[in-house]
């Protein structure tokens, strides 16, 4: 279980949250309500207070890089540091077959990053995070820039990974996606996160 206790930072009121291992949690809320601030705090990317546990192991008891290997995060707009897509993967050849699972051709590994679209980068960032095999993955708007068909592919990839034991926290604007994917629902407004009874209407 991912257990969050009094997690707080500027722009975020103290959060208490329990996400069972193997579940998909969904967080919805208006723009600017603090969704990414929350995600960044969980992976310790910005100064914050409080504690987070994964399967009984406290975040503060391990180095931050080790924690981020367990609990990953894919922002809505990920960063790229090299010229070619493949250079961002530890082992691009073994990830090549995965590309079609997100609706990309196999030669996408050879593309220059500068010529990819927002939606392509979003899916490539998801694959890059999955390659590191985290236990928990926080996804910020993973399908925002995608058409219907591609969105369905990405969703089924996430569900397939969940069946293999991964835990997800999905941040989304889309109530239909929340209902399709989610097991537990939270809503965030003005930096305050509350547990919801069911999927957002």
């Amino acid at each position: 279980m991912l257990k969050i206790e009094n997690l707080a930072r500027s722009g975020l009121k103290p959060v208490n949250m329990m996400l069972p291992a193997g579940a998909i949690g969904v967080l919805t809320g208006p723009s600017g309500s603090g969704k990414s601030l929350f995600a960044r705090a969980v992976v310790d990317l910005d100064p914050n207070s409080g504690e987070v546990w994964w399967k009984g192991r406290a975040r503060s008891a391990m180095p931050a890089p080790r924690w981020r290997q367990l609990v990953g995060y894919v922002p809505a707009e990920s960063g790229w540091w090299a010229e070619r897509v493949g250079e961002h993967f530890a082992n691009p050849e073994s990830m090549r077959p995965m590309l079609q699972a997100v609706g990309l051709p196999e030669d996408a590994m050879d593309w220059p990053v500068s010529r990819t679209s927002t939606g392509e980068r979003q899916r490539l960032a998801l694959l890059r995070a999955l390659e590191a095999v985290p236990d928990v993955l926080i996804l910020d708007e993973p399908t925002a820039a995608l058409d219907e068909g591609t969105r369905a592919r990405v969703e089924s990839l996430i569900l397939e990974r969940r069946r293999a034991g991964m835990t997800f926290m999905i941040i989304t604007h889309d109530p239909a996606q929340a209902a399709r994917m989610g097991d537990i629902f939270w809503r965030i407004e003005k930096g305050r996160i509350t547990l919801q009874e069911g999927a957002p209407a």
């Binding site: 722009g11 310790d44 990317l45 981020r68 922002p75």
Partner: protein, 273 residues
């Protein structure tokens, strides 16, 4: 007077006569209304005053041969070099770090190399003889200042512009040092480029100014080359170490123990996000 070298002493008249061509250029500018005569006169006069002043100051320091006066002059040089490093930062670190980190990296590596050279290589008597210590220190500081300023700017620029890329590397479980390594490499290259170019070009395209000066003063060319090599090795080494120290100290300051990127520690970036 000049027993060991064929050194031709200049009179003030010689120096004045050497201004003939600059005077002609200024005269043409005046006649053709090119509007540069005034600037030429001002710059030339300023150069005369500055260099004469430094000549008399150095003569005073050399004649006194006092370690304290030499040290005081070295401190003045350091202050000017440090000010240059600080003022050339587009995005300086916030608070006192701005004054300590870059100039500190430049000064520590420069002083260590200077003391090493004086104590083990040149061995003047006394070891702090200003005739050796001050020109050496000046050349070391001048180059190190340039390299450190360039390297610091490159690394702070990367932290601002490549924030998303650096954080993507951190998010994949890399340490702060691993995450910033490509940007540190780029900054080192930027800081080292001028001295690398100077090394590559020396002797082929340009005769280094110091060597030229020694040859004009009657030093045999190969002896002058040896001095020039010693100086180049020292300068390049100090630039390399100074830039590396400045880059890694900046990375250390712009990240924290939880391996987070902290651009909020740059001046004017402390918006809390």
């Amino acid at each position: 007077m000049n027993t060991q070298a064929s050194y031709i002493a200049l009179s003030y008249g010689d120096v004045a006569a050497s201004a003939l061509f600059l005077f002609l250029a200024a005269a043409f500018s005046l006649v053709l209304r090119l509007g540069l005569a005034g600037s030429i006169a001002i710059v030339a006069a300023r150069m005369v005053v500055q260099l004469l002043a430094i000549g008399f100051v150095l003569r005073f320091i050399f004649e006194s041969s006092s370690g304290w006066i030499t040290l005081a002059y070295a401190l003045v040089m350091t202050t000017f070099a440090a000010r240059e490093v600080i003022n050339r930062q587009d995005r300086p670190l916030s608070g006192l770090w701005r004054y300590g980190l870059g100039p500190g990296a430049m000064l520590v590596t420069g002083v260590v190399a200077l003391l090493y050279t004086l104590a083990f290589l040149l061995q003047p008597d006394p070891w702090h003889a200003p005739r050796y210590a001050l020109p050496l220190f000046g050349m070391i500081l001048g180059n190190s200042m340039n390299g450190v300023a360039l390297g610091l700017n490159a690394v702070t620029r990367a932290v601002i512009r490549e924030k998303a890329a650096i954080e993507a590397r951190l998010l994949l479980g890399r340490t702060r040092w691993q995450a910033l390594r490509p940007f540190a490499a780029e900054a080192l290259k930027t800081g080292m480029t001028p001295i690398m170019n100077a090394m590559a070009a020396s002797g082929v395209i340009s005769l280094p100014g110091m060597m030229t000066g020694q040859i004009l003063a009657g030093v045999p060319p190969v002896e002058a080359v040896k001095y020039q090599l010693l100086i180049m090795f020292l300068i390049a080494g100090v630039v390399g170490l100074g830039v590396i120290a400045a880059i890694f100290a900046t990375i250390w300051r712009l990240t924290d123990a939880r391996h987070r990127l902290r651009p909020d520690r740059l001046a004017g970036m402390d918006d809390g996000h």
